[in-house]
């Protein structure tokens, strides 16, 4: 029996009817709500491509059932900044060209944004630890670290 859910995504309240309360949030966002972020990479919680924030915490939406998040605030990549007011990490990413295909970047960016919030000036080690469970196949790893460092410097005012 379809059940009605109401969730907040990128500051917008959305209502939807879903048969299976175990439907992972990934499919809710992509298929039910037609959003392009997050992305499907493994469905197993292993790669990070599906990462969103749930109440500010980076969470793998492919292994998060809808039933578990109904009263929480969800933020996707598209919700962390806008063209006029990008998040510093988004700006840094562009300068550092930290993507090739970019299929992985929901994982890196959403995790990086949370990291910079809890630790505005992370060390290289802290950065690597924060994102070590995020997969990238194109080999952008060094650029990812540079981008997070640059964003951190931008946020504490060292660079524009």
């Amino acid at each position: 029996m379809a059940k009605s859910y109401s969730i907040s995504v990128d500051e917008v309240n959305r209502t939807l009817e879903v048969d299976d309360p175990n439907m992972p949030l990934l499919y809710v966002l992509r298929d039910e709500l037609g959003m392009n972020n997050p992305r499907f990479g493994c469905g197993l919680g292993q790669c990070g491509a599906c990462t969103v924030h749930i109440d500010g915490q980076p969470t793998r939406s492919c292994v998060t059932p809808l039933s578990a998040i109904s009263s929480s605030k969800i933020t996707t990549l598209a919700g962390i900044g806008s063209a006029n007011a990008p998040h510093p990490l988004q700006s840094a990413w562009i300068v550092e060209e930290a993507s090739q295909c970019g299929y992985c970047l929901n994982g890196f960016l959403m995790t990086g944004v949370a990291l910079l919030k809890s630790s505005p000036s992370p060390t290289e080690m802290e950065i690597k630890t924060a994102v070590e469970n995020i997969k990238c196949r194109c080999g952008t790893h060094l650029a990812v670290v540079r981008a997070i460092k640059r964003a951190s410097q931008m946020m504490v005012g060292d660079v524009k």
Partner: protein, 765 residues
């Protein structure tokens, strides 16, 4: 492709659906009733390679569209094409866009293959842009009443040099109309296609735009969550499809219990011959249905050899085809002679595993098969070939199939994308609705076509002066094309195999050439039969850099082994036998930047240490690109873990179009190749591939990436721009293995250099 473009492109595709839409994309905006214009045609000339308009158009605003017959595997190729065209036409970079991979609007120039995006695709666009510029100058000359030699172009505006007030823009000259100008075409398609015109492209000495470090324009939309991948294509009425695959390779469905899906609303089965899939309105329902479906499978015994005996299997397999790519002097006689004279003869054998593309995003494709037309949205690297193969698969005419390439997750050769678009086509054709298929992680890792497993045997003989006089190199392994990678036949896809199209393997290994001169030299390859000739999870097809990583893993380690026998330093030894001055210069410059000291034998003083340090080098040259990769590693004695500390990558690809893009591409492929060298090995048991996800197919992570990668980029404007997409990846594994030897004095001749393998090897001494 630039983001705005992708977005526009995809949106329009959604709205219009089938093939017809696409024609409108290639048509410059029509003229809107200004003063009559004399030049150019109002009507679109035929869409053939011999028409300039098939390659390039200029609209009424003066914006240039390039119709590019290759595709970008996420390496920023569109930036290079735009720089080349901007240069030849004298139009601003920002005013140029590149359409790629749409079979209805772009000519088949082969898709992505063998690093040819700039080398072949860029070269062709240079020719067509130069031709367009010449024609535009002729038009301007008539309009301005001034000879061509008196004219200048800047930002798409032609002026009389002596009187800049006399000016006319490209937009005024041709905007919205067609050149209707002939090029000479060699009547071939794909990579063999060539066109030429009468214009002479600019000499590189006049370049102002080519060579400017330029940032990719697709990162911004990606990072803002605005980029649309093929997995974001949504068509009205679209269903979601998933394939149902056996747990034992080669098994086919004999009974399917559709009632097992009754709990999942709207899910239904598509079962045609051995092809089995499900479709549902909701994606999650398709995922669940594929798991829930009860299937009785036929018995199958693929008889894969035990994983640890894979290379014994290769050694003992019958040879299907043998070919020598180089045979100079008489190697056999020279080696026999050396043996007879008790001179040094060195032999070694190397092993390389099956590897998976394991793209981060499992393949996705959307097919819309109607009665009259089939449109496929695909991320295949060969969209033009896919069109031909899918027409055969569905029994349609080629003109009734359109393939539209839209970027997917990064691909590194013939990955699972080609299979996925065929599956989507069959499902859509069966249900009469648009169907989107995205593979599971297991399909992307266990079922993608694999990079070939192989062994390499190398021998060399010295003369009495200590010089290498004979060199004999033989690779034996699964053909690189057990499943031909072009998708231009139905049989080149899993769906084709399941629907009864007979696999026609091509026997080829395509060995990279060796850069060294030896008096007697023989290089060859042998292929062996595939392990399972139908729908095999171990079928082999192109994986980035094809035969090079394994062949150089052997040949460039062997070079170091010879250097040691000759009591020479690895760099000094290479310089002794390399013949091309470009190789010499690159190797010397890169060695200097790396900080290489002349030294013989393994790094002294590492023996008692837990973390041993070593350095390694490997070089190669292919298709006009020279690479020299240097690496410093740290090897843990207790765990066997190899960590690259830093790389210096030397690269000479002739003319550099975009130094910034080049550096990014080199950095990424170095990390990518490090993953292959240190981590990647497809595992399997007697029945099936057991690498199914990221725990069973480990790849590089943050803990294994180098601290830094330095570059030596040699620019040679006098030489054509050659490829850069995969050349460094050819030799990274060899450089790492040489560095591991330098650190540990232990030679490891099997890849990957995983902790277990390295630890075992260290334990043996």
């Amino acid at each position: 492709m630039s983001d705005a473009l992708t977005t526009r492109h995809t949106r329009r595709a959604f709205i219009s659906g089938a093939g017809a839409l696409v024609i409108s994309l290639s048509t410059p905006a029509s003229s809107s009733g200004q003063a009559p214009l004399t030049d150019g045609a109002m009507k679109r000339p035929s869409f053939t390679p011999s028409q300039l308009d098939s390659w390039l158009s200029i609209d009424e605003a003066g914006d240039v569209t390039c119709f590019f017959g290759k595709i970008d595997v996420a390496q920023g190729l569109d930036v290079a094409v735009r720089l080349i065209v901007a240069e030849e036409l004298d139009v601003a970079f920002e005013r140029i866009r590149v359409l790629m991979g749409n079979s209805a609007t772009t000519i088949n120039h082969g898709g992505a293959t063998s690093d040819s995006g700039v080398r072949e695709g860029g070269a062709l666009m240079r020719i067509t842009a130069a031709e367009a510029r010449m024609l535009l100058l002729e038009m301007a000359s008539r309009k301005l009443n001034s000879p061509v030699s008196s004219l200048r172009v800047s930002n798409g505006v032609v002026t009389v040099a002596a009187d800049p007030s006399r000016a006319i823009s490209y937009a005024e000259l041709i905007g919205g109309r067609y050149f209707n100008a002939q090029l000479h075409w060699n009547k071939k398609f794909g990579r063999d296609l060539e066109v030429s015109g009468t214009a002479k492209p600019k000499p590189p000495s006049e370049y102002k735009i080519v060579g400017t470090p330029t940032v990719r324009t697709d990162i911004s939309p990606k990072v803002m969550g605005k980029f649309e991948y093929v997995s974001d294509v949504r068509l009205p009425g679209m269903l979601h499809g998933r394939m149902v695959r056996p747990s034992i390779a080669g098994a086919v469905p004999v009974n399917v219990d559709e009632s097992s899906l009754k709990e999942i609303a709207g899910a239904r089965v598509v079962w045609i011959k051995n092809f089995l899939g499900v479709v549902a309105e909701k994606e999650w329902d398709a995922v669940r249905a594929a798991e829930a479906l009860k299937v009785t499978w036929s018995d199958s015994n693929p008889g894969f050899p035990p994983q640890e005996k894979l290379h014994d299997h290769i050694r003992s397999s019958k040879v299907v085809k043998r070919e020598y790519t180089s045979n100079v002097g008489s190697v056999e006689a020279a080696i026999k002679e050396a043996q007879a004279q008790k001179l040094r003869v060195v032999e070694a054998e190397y092993e390389w595993p099956f590897q998976s593309h394991a793209s981060l995003g499992p393949a996705c494709a959307v097919a819309n098969a109607t009665k009259d037309h089939v449109t496929i949205y695909t991320a295949s690297q060969k969209p033009y070939d896919a069109r031909i193969g899918i027409a055969e698969l569905l029994g349609r005419e080629m003109r009734d199939v359109t393939t539209i390439w839209i970027a997917g997750s990064g691909s590194y050769g013939r990955n699972d994308a080609g299979d996925c678009s065929a599956d989507a086509a069959v499902l859509s054709n069966a249900v009469g609705k648009p169907v989107r298929v995205q593979y599971s992680r297991a399909e992307a890792t266990a079922w993608d076509p694999k990079g070939s497993a192989s062994i390499q045997r190398v021998r060399a003989a010295f003369d009495e002066s200590g010089k290498v006089v004979a060199y004999d190199f033989m690779t034996k392994g699964f053909s690189l094309r057990d499943m031909p990678p072009w998708e231009r036949k139905a049989a080149n896809t899993l769906a084709g195999h399941l629907l009864g199209f007979k696999l026609e393997p091509i026997q080829a290994f395509g060995i990279p050439n060796d850069s060294y001169r030896f008096q007697h030299k023989r290089i060859g390859w042998e292929t062996i039969p595939p392990l399972l000739d139908r729908a095999s999870p171990l079928r082999t097809a192109h994986l980035r850099a094809t035969a090079s990583p394994m062949c150089h893993f052997a040949s460039e380690q062997f070079t170091d082994e010879l250097a040691l026998v000759a009591q020479s330093d690895p760099v000094r030894f290479r310089l002794q036998y390399l013949t091309d001055p470009r190789d010499h210069e690159l190797l010397k410059q890169t060695a200097e930047k790396f900080g290489w000291d002349d030294r013989i034998g393994p790094n002294p003083g590492q023996g008692g240490r837990e973390l041993m340090r070593g350095r390694g080098v490997a070089v190669a040259q292919k298709e006009g690109t020279c690479v020299a990769v240097f690496v410093e590693v740290e090897v843990s004695k207790s765990t066997g873990r190899v960590r690259p500390v830093r790389y210096t990558v030397g690269h000479d690809c002739g003319l550099i179009i975009n130094p910034r893009g080049l550096q990014q591409v080199l950095e990424c492929q170095t990390v990518w190749a490090t993953s292959r060298a240190l981590c990647e090995e497809v595992t399997f048991d007697a029945n099936m591939v057991t690498s199914r996800d990221w725990t069973t197919y480990p790849t590089i992570d943050m803990n294994l990436v180098p601290e830094k990668i330095d570059f030596v980029l040699i620019n040679r404007p006098e030489l054509p721009a050659a490829g850069a997409g995969e050349h460094a990846a050819r030799v990274v594994a060899a450089a790492l293995a040489n560095a591991v030897f330098d650190a540990t004095a232990v030679r490891i001749r099997s890849a990957p250099l995983s902790p277990e393998r390295v630890k075992t090897a260290l334990g043996r001494v």
